[in-house]
Symmetry: C2
């Protein structure tokens, strides 16, 4: 362990799986002087070594300074070089092997299959962004050639491409220790855009963060990139987090977490002398609407499938179905009964942290005590689990729901509220009353399609993703996905934090007027040396 506040280059021989408790500030290991943090195993409550020395203001300042210094070089890396860098990060994460899986499990209590799946998603995501970088489409290259003979005035030569905003601060999420953490979607898309990244690791999984952070650093070194391309800090959001967001060298922020946390970063960023965008993915209850035909044809099966979605990852997913609106009538009782039985038979599961668990317990208690709300079932207690999350299912009706806006509040965990809706008019009233969401889901048979067609225009304004006859959990990482949505689901409804469009968050267009060929960025030069798809006078193609 390095002494507090001192910096040393990483010992060349540190094995990939070794944990030191250090912050990774560029190429240096720094034992932060701002207090100590230990991870805990939520299954057992056991404290996990090593101690993490938290960052103080100097460490945050140093990481930002290095990131700014790196920006000038890193943003001008070639497409192939940058893509290969992202692929090396993926390979170095895979190199961590069992050591990573075990540490993630120890710090999160997540089952092995989930951790392995999330690792595959994370490395797949990095490789997907490598392919995005290579395509060069994200540069948005456009050329409006000069028209020297145009009257009354000649037209200049105008060329446009996108440039990165600058270094990005990434706030890692608790619930995706790999896919939305140190080398997750925000980091991958920011690095793809040409932006150095300073990560604030989540305090729930510092060892996972260090392992992955070292993998990223190795990739930085292998590719000879400036050390400030990547840094990893640990520390409280209220001090280090705010400091990062207000540092003048940070030019954008990616965040996944609570509404309170996200909004405080949004406020801090807006109050800067030069405000910056905060892409905060905050909270969503992911309403599910079960229409009459679907209830009649599949009531009980739907009830079981719903609970399978609800209890995935102990309900600790941004897209967990926290509200289900079902039209009263044939199949309604079968749906509710099956869901009730499934929850009653669902074992408790470890939650990510004690804090998350106590927040969940408070949310469930509030819901259970709300007027007009009946508890349908709780899961099976598992006394051996330290941070034990007990599934919960609740029932209310449309009157109570419309009368109490707090019933829309997210309860982060495996809790959901079924709302019995008397008729279609009420259903539309409810849709109109809902806050912005990441997802909205419809269950409908062909006989429900007329009603579905009526609802769809409202649902597409309500949510970032509309799901048909499925469940909102399980977010594909691809080209057509949107993981985003109207406020308060996110602070930036026109963006997505998952999928290839995520790169757009960190870019802005610049126009070059009559710039001589030799001084133009390569992607805008005559002859199209990079072989990009470019728009010429608005018409896309490869010129």
């Amino acid at each position: 362990m390095t002494a507090p506040g001192t910096r040393a280059a990483e010992p060349a021989g540190t094995p990939a799986g070794t944990l030191t408790g250090a912050l990774l500030i560029g190429a240096s290991d720094v034992h932060g002087p701002g207090g100590e943090l230990y991870a805990a195993d939520p299954r057992t409550g056991e404290r996990l070594a090593p101690a993490y020395g938290l960052a103080g203001p100097d460490e945050a300042d140093r990481a930002c300074a290095l990131a700014w210094e790196a920006f000038a070089t890193y943003r001008r890396t070639g497409l192939e070089e940058r893509a290969a860098f992202l692929e090396t990060i993926a390979a170095r994460i895979e190199d961590l092997g069992e050591a990573l899986v075990e540490r993630v499990q120890a710090e999160t209590g997540l089952p092995r299959a989930r951790v392995e799946g999330e690792r595959a998603r994370t490395t797949g995501q990095l490789r997907l962004f490598a392919s995005v970088v290579r395509s060069g489409d994200w540069l948005g290259a456009r050329i409006d050639p000069a028209l020297p003979g145009r009257t009354p005035l000649p037209r200049p030569d105008l060329r446009q491409r996108k440039v990165p905003l600058g270094p990005v601060a990434v706030f890692a999420a608790s619930n995706f220790p790999l896919a939305f953490s140190v080398a997750g979607g925000d980091t991958a898309s920011a690095l793809a855009a040409g932006a150095p990244v300073v990560v604030k690791g989540h305090p729930a999984h510092p060892g996972t963060s260090e392992l992955v952070g070292r993998a990223v650093r190795r990739a930085v070194q292998e590719h000879g990139l400036p050390e400030g391309t990547f840094s990893l800090l640990q520390g409280p959001g209220s001090t280090i987090g705010t400091r990062l967001v207000t540092d003048p060298r940070i030019r954008a922020v990616g965040f996944t977490g609570s509404r309170g946390g996200g909004l405080s970063l949004v406020a801090a960023a807006a109050a800067r002398p030069v405000p910056i965008p905060v892409y905060a993915e905050m909270s969503s209850v992911n309403p599910v609407f079960v229409l009459p035909g679907a209830l009649r044809d599949g009531g009980a099966g739907l009830g079981r499938a719903f609970v399978a979605s609800l209890t995935t990852g102990a309900g600790q997913l941004c897209t967990s179905p926290g509200l289900v609106f079902a039209l009263d009538g044939e199949g309604f009782d079968a749906f509710v009964d099956a869901a009730t039985a499934a929850v009653a038979a669902a074992p408790a599961a470890p939650m990510l942290t004690r804090t998350i668990q106590s927040g969940y317990d408070a949310g469930v208690e509030r819901l259970a005590g709300a007027g007009g709300v009946r508890t349908l079932a709780r899961g099976i207690e598992e006394p051996g689990i330290a941070a034990c999350g007990l599934p919960g299912l609740f029932l209310t009706d449309d009157d109570a729901f419309l009368g109490d806006p707090s019933l829309q509040d997210e309860v982060f965990g495996a809790s959901s509220l079924i709302v019995r809706v008397r008729d279609r008019a009420r259903l539309r009233e409810i849709v109109a009353s809902l806050e912005g969401q990441l997802t909205a889901t419809l269950h409908a048979t062909p006989e429900d399609h007329a009603l579905a067609a009526e609802l769809l225009p409202d649902l597409e304004l309500l949510a970032g993703r509309v799901v048909f006859n499925g469940w909102p959990t399980g977010v594909e990482v691809g080209h057509a996905v949107v993981h985003g949505g109207p406020y308060p689901a996110t602070s930036a409804p026109a963006t997505t934090s998952v999928g290839t469009r995520a790169i757009e968050r960190f870019l802005r267009p610049v126009s070059y007027q009559d710039v001589p060929g030799g001084l133009l960025p390569e992607e805008l030069r005559d002859g199209n040396p990079l072989g990009l798809r470019r728009r010429i006078d608005g018409e896309p193609g490869r010129d």
Copy 2:
């Protein structure tokens, strides 16, 4: 004239060029009850009939209610229908003929050629957005087909397109009474995106606004669109403007004007229960850098060309060159002398309003009195002009400039400050000290290219458009232009308010998962019935 607060359908026979002083709230003429406004001819000071009855809260509320009602229908208009609507607006503006040109001149004092040119730009802009709408590229259609056999989990069918955010409030600018006013770039791009528009007309040209507003309304009626697709209000920004921005049915804001005005809208929008984006194009001094070779080869000619750009539109352009940095050495004196002579010979010109003129005079006085600043020349007084703007040219050096940040402040009008820069190191220091800008301009001969190459990476981070060997005034309306830039030039640096990318400001992506074919929006259906360019698994083309 209609009685205050009453509403009446537009008399069928109202000739196109008739001014009534009414607000245009959907299909109704309303004489606003919130006080009266007269335009004034800035050339003579003469008050221009008719009196405009200003909007109160009820009028704003009614316009927003109609816009929200229209949104459901208007956003679902077909591509051809919407494109034709934009073209009809252009045609109806042209139909106004001389009446429009004369009224614009009377209200703004702008010369005829400028007004005719701006009208052509405005109608051209509407037709350009019609072509954008027809192409359908703005929908960003993407399909990631289902992979039912994928392991460990099948992939659902995911399709993505963009939808409009909702009704848009447009704040018209004083300085482009046509191209950035009632049917200007913000309105054209919002209507193109499928967003109804509520315009707050600029008080400097209410008659122009009414004429153009009636042209838009005619187009709405000819195409059988809901009346709320367009409304025109007149009233103070501090009351009606704030009311529009905080109305829950308004979902985005376009603004061109002062920094103070823009920032107050940004603050109001951020404080809403559901914040919305404000696209404010605010202020810029458009630095020009004249490098040694350019000075030596063309000093005097550059000085004259600079003043021609500076005095365009009495300097009342967002892209007016308010700061010129020239390296001391051969040609510097010739440049300064020629510019000084040109300003001394430049006649005063009417400014848009008395308020703008007094702001200009105060700015010039502040500049003239600043430490280390010398007045090089003022233009020729024209005692006959009521709101008379006298060009001004000032000189300072790099020490004084770096020592007084207020020398960067915009003086809206034909005033500019030349800064004598001792060497290249100082020039780079100056670039680093500048606020975000709409434009940055370099004058360079081939021998300057090494220095230009050093500066370009900084300039592309500083500004939305980098100009070579030209002047920043004159903004092309095309595909590759950016009229935007880092804060405080705009409140949304990743966007442009001119050119085809402007439509992106009013859209957000939505993803559709496993939605049955018959319920999908037409643009995402199998068989590509609209013949769009769509991305299939990320690969662009016409499937």
